[in-house]
Amino acid sequence: MTLDRPTTLLAELTYRCPLHCPYCSNPLAMAGAEAELTSEEWTRVFTEARELGVLQLGLSGGEPLARKDLEDLAAHAHQLGLYTTLVTSGVGLTRARAEALRNAGLEHVQISIQDSDTETADRIAGMRASQHKQAAVAIVRDLGFAFSINVVLHRANLDRIGDIIEMAAALGADRLELANTQYYGWGLANRNALMPTADQVVAAQAVADEAILRYRGKMQILYVLPDYYEKYPKPCYGGWGHVYLVVTPPGQVLPCHGATQITTLHFDNVRDRSLGWIWTESPAFQAYRGDEWMVEPCRSCPRKAIDFGGCRCQAFTLTGNAANTDPVCTLTPLRAIVDRAIQEATGAPEYRYRHISPASAQTSSSTDKHPPPGH
């Protein structure tokens, strides 16, 4: 196979975040500020990414506004010609910072909103974030950024999908991303509390389908399916190491933001290797490229050209072998794992909130305390 050039880099600038959303895809054990790549290191990574062919840059986290050098990084990305998106909670986006980012050449801002209902929004965020977000939205609109709203959907807000869409339209979003929770990192740890019911999923799909048509040409709506309820797995970024790469706050390079969960692979670091070497040569990026690695039923399945066997991170997390078919697929007996997870996810949502605690995070569980709203 010919090796394609990557188009998209997700730069997770920091794990620091004022919010504590239990569906966060970041890993349970997160490095603190002291381990983060420096400004110079990020600048080099962006330059190498552009030389490699990257066109799209996501400045993400954590909350990227926690980085004081965000404006400098955005300016460098702009000079390279990258189409840059700031992926933010909106908390900490003052007018002064927004103006500086605008002057740096930042084009697109994506603000997360947790719910149309303020009380449940603040409950899932683990802080009173809603008022900050309203202010951030007003600034972003005022400065004329291309503006997206992202909403993660789960059991506690899926029934309000219609209200959420109307809210996004009223806030003047150019684009609305409605993303059903993907179960990675904290999201996986909270799966039982987040998983919607089958009835919710069917009802939400109908609302989304209608709104997508109604808002055509006014607000682009993307609806990310709840993959546990799908018949076939999602085609994860066009396959492993095909067009997408992620750099984590301490510099690890991943083919997918959930890949740190695959403990059998070693992911190289931009502090040790060039991005180009990691993309083309590193064992981790080569591990699941193409289809030579596939097992049955993927190996002989015509759908392997469509979904590439699904998500390697999900296959590893749920089956212990990253080469297995993504258990979402109904063509594998492994599907029983996903069906069981759906059946087990009942009862009132009790969240385990996201927090940075590298030493204890991997073993702690029900004893976690979440900060009261407004801490």
């Binding site: 050039r5 188009t7 998209t8 552009r50 030389e51 490699l52 062919g53 066109l55 799209q56 996501g58 010609g81 189409y83 998106t85 084009e107 697109h108 994506q110 291309a146 997206s148 150019d174 684009r175 055509r216 040409g217 682009q220």
Partner: protein, 89 residues
């Protein structure tokens, strides 16, 4: 759905036409996506200025290439219109 020769195509506010020096190829960039363009596609999109109609764009290209392109131009822009990357001004 789709555009007619009378439509006036304009790029989506969030989309940007650029030349990628790495691939030596024009690209259409937009949030979380990129379309790699061939020379013809780039020539069409460079004429989408919010004033020219599809027919007017085709006419410019017909003079340039000396062949009938109206159907191809309409189809090409309609495809991008369906993906919401082109708007009808």
């Amino acid at each position: 759905m789709g555009l007619t020769p009378a439509s006036v195509p304009t790029l989506w506010r969030l989309a940007r036409l650029d030349f990628d020096a790495v691939r030596q190829q024009h690209v259409l960039l937009y949030p979380e996506g990129a379309v790699l363009l061939n020379d013809t596609g780039a020539a069409i999109l460079q004429l989408c200025d919010g004033h020219r109609s599809v027919a007017a764009i085709a006419q410019v290209l017909e003079e340039r290439y000396q062949c009938d392109v109206l159907a191809d131009v309409t189809e090409y822009l309609s495809g991008l219109f369906d993906r919401e990357l082109i708007r009808d001004a």
